[in-house]
Symmetry: C2
């Protein structure tokens, strides 16, 4: 066999040249599902900025700026605040495989699909995984977590903050002290919640937290902000092994090194740190996006953005109730940025969602597991935590419900939501 | 401890609000290093396209289109052709951890840093790793690979195609037949070479191949194209385990499941396949970028793009020689898209690179390991495999060399390169 010559026909091609698709040209969508959501326009613009080299002074300065911006977003002084190049679950896996050695115990309180994911990832990392579960639609009482920590004595507690599968927002503020008391590392997956709900990495005693851009941070999926406490960094450093090819004679080579190269936070730290030791090639455009997400949020004010999410979430909740719909779960513990709406009897859930998308250009979400076919999930997050987005969605939903034969109070949704925005 | 209230001061913040940096605004750079390189302008534009939902018909159609485009780029009919969300080494790790079970043998011929990386990743995946090495600047003779396969009898042969650390382009065209003969899976990392040098996944008998966008494909780092043969897919399917939370009662649960969730190609296949089973949330903007990279290449013609890289590479080679510089390594096996130039005696390598960047806005590369301080690496790839980029770089290099006291033939670089472009 020899190399194909220039001009030879392409093997395996079923798409002839002339039928090459055109440049990407997406339809206009208002994304009001559980995420991904429409990005802030300035985030989209940031991604079309030209590339620079990975050790260009502009690049390393942008990385440093991004770290400082995310310290503010997370509410932390952690030096080890950076990005993992991948989607939100890349951040989760990096945290878990770097903090937990095979055979060590991980405790995962489960209150929805993403708790199951943390357990799954820890199991694949060969941890001894213990779960405690509450019914979907509830959060886990702190006393239950306390009891389980005493019983299991885990190395790591892995706890989702906001689980979009159920819309619940797990209180974290008392958990860090419990973990500290028992010498347990405390990790939280804040993918669905960060930026739209309070999060205080230092005040709550987090040792590790990860997120994604595609929810309340208002960017595209593909970059995972992460922050690590000094205690977490010590664990990571103790397992340090610099890869062959760039290892120096005096670099340590721990025998219990992380069983992933890509997710080895020790090497990722060296890349983001003063040594700037080559690991991956930082995803420049995603870095620009992540930087702009944080910048937009901090320019508005981190707490003001959370408050905007609270207001939009309250308005959407009032709106769907104003349409006579029921809401799933313990509303007192609902995240600001998503609501699970019971699909009313007689309305075909998927057909109604399709009508929202096709006829109004508005996306609302379906659901997973026990809630599949039972609830829609409607989000109000990031750029779309806005009055016009909320009212437009409710107006469209009213029209669609009526089309499918559901009697709804005319204007009941938009009026109730507008009242919330007016502070009535 | 309680949650911070809206309006409370930000803990851990060392960057006061008023000093928030502005929108990203990179300096103009001509990136002529070993990658990342300047992206095609249309790729940058594609990334600023609005987001759509992850199951939007437009999104799934764009994923399907992207798969078909990459089949043509790879030269394959493989159904299992898709993207891994992460940088190029995410694709490498996904291929290796999904194809190799702990304890299985992996053979890695090493001819530069990235062979060491494949060995490192396989070792972390708990494979029994065997390497064969040749000196930097050479490729591995096929007879040596043949001998090693017979001796080691590996499950997988992992072989870099183009190693930017040495600029060598390992011939692959006879290796697939050897692997097939011995029942060995054949994987190649084509990160540095794909798009700029011939690559024929099917004709060469590849079972798996991965790349990144940031080299000859002319996009940003952050998405890893991958293609898998039917034989590779069988291995992946035999290890299938659908994650908890979305697992159906009749889903298999292999006991030898992949020890990573994020890199489990079985689940990634289900996400890209007709089942569209949720795994990660596809990085929409990076998908747009990857799609546009392939589209630009196929619109010009895949083989025409390779030829453009050959021409630009030949011109750069002639140009640096025209400046009286020596080139490292076996030039007969050099990749089209990068050349290693011996730093001339008396010229401070890093200061000269800095002058290129600061005074001319042109980036050329440093090097790793045994070549560090000895060669610069100059790339001509993707969008920058162009006459004006080559001539501009050579003109700047001439000026910088002269500034550092090196006697160079006036116009010797640009004239030699222009001759190549003129076919003289």
């Amino acid at each position: 066999m020899t190399a194909a010559q220039p001009g030879s026909s392409l093997p395996g091609s079923s798409l002839p040249g002339p039928e090459l698709p055109g440049p990407i040209d997406p339809p206009t969508r208002l994304l009001m599902g559980p995420g991904p959501v429409s990005a802030y326009p300035s985030v989209l613009r940031a991604m079309s900025a030209p590339l620079v080299g990975q050790y260009d002074p502009f690049m390393t300065a942008s990385m440093t700026e991004t770290q400082e911006l995310y310290r503010q977003v997370w509410g932390t002084a952690n030096e080890a605040t950076m990005l993992v190049d991948g989607t939100s679950r890349a951040g989760i896996e990096a945290a878990i495989v770097s903090l937990v050695r095979p055979g060590e115990r991980v405790l995962v309180p489960v209150f929805g699909r993403f708790g199951l994911l943390l357990a799954e990832i820890a199991e694949r990392a060969m941890a001894e995984v213990h779960t405690i579960e509450v019914p979907w639609g509830q959060v886990v009482p702190v006393s239950t977590i306390d009891e389980a920590i005493r019983r299991v004595r885990p190395t790591l507690l892995a706890l989702v903050q906001g689980d979009t599968s159920t819309t619940m927002n797990q209180p974290l503020d008392e958990v860090g002290a419990l973990c500290a008391q028992h010498g347990v590392l405390f990790y939280s997956d804040a993918t669905a919640s960060l930026g739209g709900n309070p999060f205080e990495a230092d005040a709550w005693g987090l040792d590790a937290a990860t997120a994604g851009l595609q929810k309340c941070l208002g960017g595209p999926s593909g970059s995972a902000p992460i922050t690590l406490s000094e205690r977490a960094v010590e664990v990571v450093r103790s397992r340090k092994r610099v890869e062959a090819g760039i290892r120096e004679p005096d670099d340590p080579e721990a025998s219990d090194y992380v069983r992933s190269n890509y997710f080895d936070l020790g090497m990722i730290l060296d890349y983001w740190g003063p040594r700037r030791l080559n690991h991956h090639t930082e995803a420049t455009s995603m870095l620009y996006a992540a930087r702009e997400c944080a910048r937009v949020i901090l320019a508005e004010g981190r707490d003001a953005v959370v408050e905007r999410h609270r207001l939009a979430g309250d308005a959407m909740l009032a709106g769907v109730r104003g349409l006579g719909l029921e809401v799933f779960g313990d509303v007192a513990h609902k995240m600001h940025n998503v609501v699970a709406v019971e699909i009313p009897e007689g309305v075909p859930g998927d057909a109604a969602r399709a009508a929202m998308l096709t006829d109004f250009g508005i996306e609302i979400g379906t659901s997973f597991g026990p809630l599949h076919g039972r609830v829609w999930r409607i989000g109000t997050m990031g750029y779309n935590a806005r009055e016009d987005a909320v009212l437009t969605t409710l107006a469209a939903l009213e029209a669609v419900l009526r089309r499918f034969g559901r009697a709804v109070p005319p204007g009941g949704g938009t009026e109730a939501a507008a009242d919330v925005f007016r502070g009535a």
